[in-house]
């Protein structure tokens, strides 16, 4: 028994099986939760590469599996990562019924989690490009219904995600060559250009960010937030792995400046555009864009403290994004669209969803007392020490992001309500939706009040 078999092959196979059960949504949900929950518990309880006795049986979970001459390695230190990925899978799957995706999301959650795990486990890392491309391809049926024209957002996601694959492969080739000859300026330039472009495409860094906002605005919010959760986290952890294996990159002349500039401009742009946005879905895209900008800013710090800040933000990000996706999905069930014009006075129809929307957006925007604020504060202190102008720009972008979120909340809680709207039914959420929204919101508050308790263990996600 090997760890890759349990945490990659099994959920891939289970995802396929669940997909075949589309005519029985209840069974789909139960099976997905059973598999993902079981994988979380197994990762928590069972150590790798140690003999385990289960009565007369002796079991040993080996950390590596060879497939066609290449290895998938999941060491014992990767157990927090496995718990995180499959915990998120269970979290998103549990909300799929409430979000109105009862027949679609469950199999994709398992497959996306398995492919993300595989991309981080494969050696050499070059092959992660194919697994990420597989992730992009697998997500297309989730974003586009059979028999309908694909939305421009889904099409652009497919195009830009696919273009990242050859760039990543070329970048990995150049990196391997440069590792042998670190003084060759041409190889260093090629590495930076190819890998930088690949990561910029996958993380939607300025100016290649259009796929994220288009996808967020044109797809079901719960489905798009699943992709926004797994894809950037996988890519950021890949980047952390590359930096760990090739420590000489951090000391490169342009590395820190380049990452800082890319991250800072992305935050400023995302905040500025979010402040003027009039569609709640696209606003979500800009919020996620800002998260990626903050992550790059963290990686640009000279020490590895930045890497820890990034991974510590994963859990509150995931909870907030899930809450936001679910809240928007519930609101969408009772609104014509997510355009601000159709969201006016939504608080009457779906008050709990609006509360969840408030907590989710403001958490992601980093409002004080909510979960992400302490991490943003520490990051900005570090950046301001050596680059005060960049820190000022990031603060302005951050404030603009908050303005965008407050504009959304002003619309959903007020706006120009027509007289006939006062007669509309109120409190339209189901009990399941209320419970899920409340649980996610409560969890965010608790993490915000006691971040050390929950976030300190997240540094185990680093490779």
């Amino acid at each position: 028994m090997t760890a890759p078999l349990l945490w990659i092959a099994l959920p891939l196979g289970a995802g396929g099986l669940v997909w075949l059960l589309r005519s029985r949504p209840g069974l789909m949900l139960a099976l997905s939760l059973l598999v993902s929950g079981g994988l979380v518990v197994t990762a928590y309880l069972l150590p790798f590469d140690e003999p385990l006795r289960l009565g007369p049986l002796a079991l040993r979970i080996l950390p590596s599996q060879v497939v066609v001459g290449r290895e998938f390695i999941l060491p014992d230190s990767s157990r927090p990562l496995l718990m995180y990925f499959y915990g998120l899978c269970a979290f998103w799957t549990a909300g799929s019924f409430a979000a109105g995706l009862r027949k679609t999301l469950a199999p994709y959650g398992l497959v996306v989690a398995a492919l993300s795990t595989a991309a981080l486990a494969v050696r050499p890392g070059l092959y992660a490009a194919f697994l990420i491309e597989a992730l992009v391809l697998v997500c297309i049926p989730l974003l586009s219904r059979l028999g309908r024209l694909p939305s421009p957002g889904a099409q652009r996601f497919l195009v830009l995600g696919t273009l990242a694959m050859p760039l990543y492969i070329l970048g990995s080739w150049a990196l391997n060559q440069a590792a042998a000859k670190p003084t060759d300026a041409t190889l260093l330039l090629l590495t930076g250009v190819f890998l930088g472009l690949a990561l910029a495409l996958l993380l939607a860094i300025f100016p290649l960010f259009s796929w994220m906002t288009m996808l967020a605005g044109q797809s079901h919010p719960y489905a798009s937030t699943l992709i926004f959760q797994y894809l950037p986290v996988t890519v950021l952890l890949l980047l952390a792995g590359i930096l760990k294996e090739n420590g000489w990159i951090r000391s490169g002349v342009y590395f820190q400046d380049g990452l800082r500039l890319a991250g800072g401009i992305t935050i400023i742009l995302a905040g500025g555009l979010a402040a003027m946005e009039r569609h709640a879905g696209r606003l979500t895209g800009f919020i996620v864009l800002a998260q990626n900008g903050f992550a790059l800013l963290s990686f640009s710090l000279a020490s590895t403290q930045g890497d820890e800040i990034t991974v510590m933000s994963f859990l509150p990000n995931a909870l907030a994004l899930g809450l936001l996706g679910l809240a928007l999905a519930v609101i969408l069930q009772h609104s014509a669209s997510l355009d601000f014009a159709d969201l006016q006075g939504t608080v009457q129809r779906t008050p709990v969803a609006v509360a969840g929307l408030a907590v989710g957006t403001l958490s992601l925007a980093g409002l004080p007392l909510l979960a992400l604020f302490p991490l943003r504060y520490i990051l900005l202190l570090e950046v301001a020490t050596e680059h005060p102008i960049m820190a000022l720009g990031v603060i302005l972008g951050w404030l603009a992001l908050l303005v965008g979120c407050f504009r959304l909340l002003a619309v959903v809680t007020g706006g120009n309500v027509r007289p006939d709207q006062y007669l509309e039914p109120q409190g339209l959420e189901s009990r399941v939706q209320i419970v899920l929204l409340s649980l996610a919101g409560g969890a965010l508050f608790i993490i915000g009040l006691a971040p050390r308790l929950f976030l300190s263990g997240m540094s185990g996600l680093l490779p």
Binding site: P150, V159, T162, P166, I169
Partner: protein, 195 residues
């Protein structure tokens, strides 16, 4: 000498097919041009890889074309490019600019990456014209063909850098995966037949 002549011919065929794909035309013509493009890419890859490995690329490309062809709707088989004659001339002009760019950039890039100049030119033509196609159309079939053209160009360039059975196989899987996604996006809902 014959090999050089054939390699040059393959580069010319790849460029002409890329330009013709830009012009548009019916789905059948586009897939035929795509198949010819992959034949040219196969010849270029075959200069660096064993014929068996290169054949994997060719077969996967043709299978992708066949898969896309079977899901073409009737209107896609006879539709003409949008924009009429001015649109065609504009796309051709843009394509010629990309060809000129590829000719001018290929020697410099060939110095940076250890790739023979003809192969670099062929790869850049496929990549450049594929990217132009992606930027100029929203029709699903042409988007998928554009993506596959870019990947073919990348394969031509990368084949000169490394030879790997696994990479060839995974590349073929990605090609077929893209074609399957394209077939999914092109599929129309089933119509109810007469009782």
């Amino acid at each position: 000498m014959n090999g050089d002549w054939l390699t040059t011919a393959a580069v010319i065929v790849a460029g002409i097919c890329g330009l013709a794909l830009l012009v548009g035309g019916s789905g059948r013509i586009a897939i035929a041009l795509f198949a010819l493009e992959y034949l040219a890419a196969f010849w270029l890859i075959n200069q660096n890889w064993p014929v068996g490995l290169a054949a994997v690329k060719l077969i996967s490309g043709w299978m992708a074309g066949a898969l896309l062809g079977t899901t073409l709707a009737e209107e896609d088989e006879t539709s003409f490019p949008s924009g009429g004659m001015p649109g065609i001339w504009f796309r051709l002009f843009a394509g010629v600019l990309v060809v000129a760019l590829a000719f001018s950039v290929a020697p410099a890039v060939s110095d940076a990456l250890p790739v023979p100049p003809l192969h670099m030119l062929g790869g850049l033509l496929l990549v450049g014209l594929g990217l132009l196609q992606l930027g100029m159309t929203r029709r699903t079939l042409h988007v998928i063909l554009g993506l596959l053209s870019v990947l073919a160009g990348f394969d031509v360039i990368y084949s000169a850098l490394e030879s790997s059975v696994l990479l060839a196989g995974l590349g073929a899987m990605v090609t077929l995966g893209l074609a399957m996604v394209g077939a999914y996006l092109l599929a129309k809902p089933a119509e109810e037949g007469p009782r």
